[in-house]
Symmetry: C2
Amino acid sequence: MSGNEIFFEQIRSAGCLSYILGCAKDKVCVVIDPELDKADDYVGLAEFFKSQILYAIDTHTHADHSSACKVMRERYGIKVVMHRATDAPYVDLRVEDGAEICFGQQSLKVVYTPGHTQDAMCLLFKDRIFTGDTLLIGGCGRTDLPGGSAEAQYRSLLVLKTLSDDIRVYPGHDYREAVSSLREEKQTNARMLIASQEEFVHFMTSRKPPLPRKIQEALEWNRTPIQGTQRGMGEGI
Amino acid sequence: MSGNEIFFEQIRSAGCLSYILGCAKDKVCVVIDPELDKADDYVGLAEFFKSQILYAIDTHTHADHSSACKVMRERYGIKVVMHRATDAPYVDLRVEDGAEICFGQQSLKVVYTPGHTQDAMCLLFKDRIFTGDTLLIGGCGRTDLPGGSAEAQYRSLLVLKTLSDDIRVYPGHDYREAVSSLREEKQTNARMLIASQEEFVHFMTSRKPPLPRKIQEALEWNRTPIQGTQRGMGEGI
């Protein structure tokens, strides 16, 4: 195996996007912007790749969800990385613009991009950039929360504009409207492209993805009436 | 105002997508696939449009999240609509293939599409279709959960293939990889297209969107160390 091979996963949690990026050769990885509810899931995913998480990296101090960094530090001894401008008190490695965060044969380069928060940074990895809330698809992070600055955000977007067009943007959230067309789906959706029922049934029944985590709770809720209340009493539950 | 005007919102909640669709003239609307945590938010959004929610419609019995339908029925007297094949005991209006769900001057047409579940339906509205988990962008709902059938799903996708290519697909989830390119963002992202700092700062500071709902909790969590535990003890929290 050459040292260039990586593994990569984008993980959705509520409205947030987190990432696992790893060096396949040395079996080490980082998690970017981990979300509290999935702390153990990232570790499980790293194990799936037979690898160990070296760093949990927050691109900035999040105001809209709880970071998993300090829990992953406590539970698993994973080092927490943030920009040195952060106020967070549980950071092992404080980095600044131009720094390289190394994991095995791979490394992420820090691009300091204050604006959404004072401690915001993007992480450049070859032809990918992890932009946190600095640059979103079709938008950018708001600048009116604590530590925000529209002036700094403007300058940070200018910095991103100097980077190559071909770099793929992986943001910290995805707020785009989720819409497609039947044309697009007919032409590109693997499930719609299967031309025979036999093949389709084989495709759908040959894999057994894990059950949704809250399936029992959800089905019980969705299949039972509300107990002990009268319809339309406006009491709430 | 002509009777053709509508209002429309796509609401993300955790991994789910819900929709508000309303008749602007008669100030009535429906909510499609409402999610429990946002029950009151849909009502607030309907109020924003000075309208009243007539129906809460579940495209199917969800196995991955809790529907808000019965809560909206209890709290607000909103009628719950589902396909007649459903087992859910709190349904006011059971509909079948070809039925029209009318709200003001507008109506949704039921397209019965079992497969993901036995009670799955899509809702056709002019050049839009709300597909629930029957058709996802680039995928389709799994068929191995209770009530699922790969054979039925295949036939249901065939039904959708007979509809016009130009119909826009609004699914119940969006699991696509969230990725863009710097080229795309430089060319189309409104924030990146603003050419002067002054204009950018005005744009960013002239609107005051509501604060994230859990901002205090999130910031407190993200800015404080873990209390009363030793680093690396593996105790969890």
